[in-house]
């Protein structure tokens, strides 16, 4: 394949928009995903994206702004899961399973009955370069900037709460507030990423870069940075692959990050063994 062929898609505005969104979304999900993975909440991303699909359909039917409606729906779902866990003897994994899947089912039923609001359902489910508009680019830029601001100013509180909630609370960190803040950031991230990744694959964009970064470093700040870079590269490479292979963008982006995982798994293992050998030799 020649350079001109590789660069050809960049002539199209829709593709440039897609590349912007995929790269920024990859970095964003990479960073937010670190908190998700380290809190053992990998499935909340999966659940929230499904739930937001339901919110999308409902918002379309009621006739309110799709993003706003779906976003509020996502936050309400996250709070509902928390509420059920507190009031009934049900684990959070089971509560996520009930609430978010029911919301997803509602979305599917509404789309079948009344058609998809705005975009076709396939694009929402699996992600589509063609679905990306300039408004989507601005949305993801806005969410990314807000997330950077939250991550910057609340870095230590987020880290303390994630690592050691009880001690953080005991020493004066408002952990419930920090948890809620993280859920809002997560909902916004999922919402802004849905067009490119699709509902079914967002969990992977949140989880895979963070897991790869974790295998490569023992430092939290380095993990955040690495995960963001791996997410961004996966988004960029995956979006290009999507165009050239004529496959939906969600799967190609996830497969790219899965390649990172395989390389890190094999390479990281031998690195650790070498480090251990060196340490023993000293």
């Amino acid at each position: 394949m020649s350079w001109s062929e590789l660069l050809r898609p960049f002539e199209f505005e829709f593709f440039r928009n897609g590349i912007y969104v995929a790269t920024i979304a990859g970095a964003l999900c990479g960073v937010v995903g670190c908190y998700v993975v380290l809190r053992n909440m990998s499935y909340i991303g999966h659940g929230l994206s499904h739930s937001i699909f339901g919110g999308y359909a409902v918002a379309g039917l009621v006739g309110v702004n799709l993003f706003l409606g779906a976003g509020i729906w996502g936050v309400v779902t996250a709070l509902a899961v928390g509420g059920i866990v507190r009031r009934r003897p049900i684990g959070s994994d089971a509560a996520i399973g009930v609430v978010t899947t029911a919301s997803f089912a509602l979305g599917l039923a509404l789309v079948q009955l009344y058609g998809s609001p705005g975009r076709n359902a396939d694009a929402l489910l699996f992600g589509n370069v063609l679905g990306v508009t300039t408004a989507d680019v601005w949305l993801i830029v806005g969410v990314a900037l807000a997330t950077v601001a939250v991550g910057f100013f609340f870095y230590r509180q987020l880290l303390f709460t994630t690592f050691d909630t009880q001690v953080a609370a005991a020493t004066g960190v408002r952990t419930a507030w920090i948890d809620a803040l993280l859920m809002v950031v997560l909902s916004a991230t999922v919402l802004a990423t849905m067009n490119v990744m699709g509902v079914t694959l967002i969990a992977a964009t949140l989880v895979v870069p963070a897991v790869v970064a974790r295998m490569l470093t023992d430092s939290f700040s380095k993990m955040l940075g690495l995960s963001g870079v791996i997410g961004a590269v996966s988004g960029f490479v995956g979006m290009n692959a999507s165009y050239h292979l004529d496959v939906a963008s969600g799967p190609t982006i996830v497969l790219t990050s899965a390649c990172f995982f395989i390389v890190a798994y094999i390479g990281g293992g031998s690195l650790r063994r070498r480090a251990a050998t060196v340490a023993h030799a000293h």
């Binding site: 380290l38 050691d164 009880q166 430092s219």
Partner: protein, 277 residues
């Protein structure tokens, strides 16, 4: 260590005053009943008692993370507290280096994510003080048992806490390491730090502390170890007969059948000078 008067007998107006405190969880049976306890500046207090006696709950109440059903916990205005958690509760695979772990403690308010130069110097100083020079870039899993305990002690010290709480600081540690931790706590206490800890270890820890509080939902006894580590108080605390032996000049608490080469102390009816029930 300087033996101190029983904390419960001290006058009101200490750093932390627990007054007639009753606590339960979600309307269930009370975990603590009418507990009175005063922590004075410079105290080094060990809380002992059986599992489920409310030791951890009492710590939480003093830290303010558990609300009283009745009674009160008054802390001196602006009092800074630190908590060293049980090592069993730590996720040792969490990606934090020693320096990151210590640094996260200054988290309140809006702060820069990175450590300032002053903070980096302070972290290095506190690690030096705890005998962990040059270990700042190690991952927390790569430390020995005693060092792992010290990281969290360093984190508590880095917050400039005036009172440090330790929940079972020596569980899972070997004898030598336990000894080191005890010495370190004694040193910090001599430097003026107020320390409150819970422990299951009557002989290895509690017997060496200036002040011991025996807890079983209520305070059964409080005072110097020779005042409260006596059969009567221990039996009421643990709910089963325990003997206190004198062996080579040391008092040793046992619940096993007695050997022939040791002399049991007679059971006494008193609970010690500063004790309150």
């Amino acid at each position: 260590m300087t033996p101190r008067e029983g904390v419960a007998a001290s006058a009101a107006g200490g750093l932390i005053v627990v007054d007639d405190l009753t606590v339960n969880y979600g309307g269930g049976p009370p975990v603590l009943i009418d507990v009175d306890l005063t922590i004075e500046p410079g105290d080094l207090v060990g809380i002992v008692g059986p599992s489920g006696s409310g030791k951890s709950t009492l710590l939480k109440a003093m830290l303010g993370t558990v609300a009283p059903v009745s009674g009160s916990v008054r802390r001196a205005p602006g009092l800074a507290v630190g908590l060293v958690p049980q090592v069993e509760t730590i996720d040792w695979n969490f990606p934090v280096t020693v320096a990151e772990c210590v640094g996260m403690a200054r988290a309140r308010g809006l702060r820069m994510p990175w450590m300032t130069r002053t903070e980096r110097t302070e972290i290095a100083d506190v690690l030096d003080r705890l005998g962990m020079h040059g270990l700042g870039n190690r991952h927390i899993r790569e430390l020995s048992g005693g060092q792992q305990q010290r990281v969290f002690l360093a984190r508590a010290l880095f917050t400039n806490a005036q009172v440090i709480f330790l929940d079972e600081p020596t569980s899972g540690l070997d004898v030598r390491t336990r000894h080191d931790v005890l010495h370190l706590l004694d040193e910090l206490n001599s430097d003026g730090l107020t320390i409150v800890l819970t422990t299951h270890d009557l002989n290895g820890i509690a017997a060496h502390l200036p002040t011991v509080v025996c807890l079983n939902r209520s305070v059964i006894g409080a005072g110097r170890p020779d005042q409260v580590l006596v059969p009567d108080v221990l039996e009421r605390t643990y709910g089963s007969p325990m003997e206190v032996l004198e062996h080579g000049g040391m008092r040793v608490v046992v619940d096993a059948p007695l050997g022939s080469n040791v002399t049991p102390l007679r059971r006494t009816g008193t609970t010690g000078g500063g004790a309150s029930a």
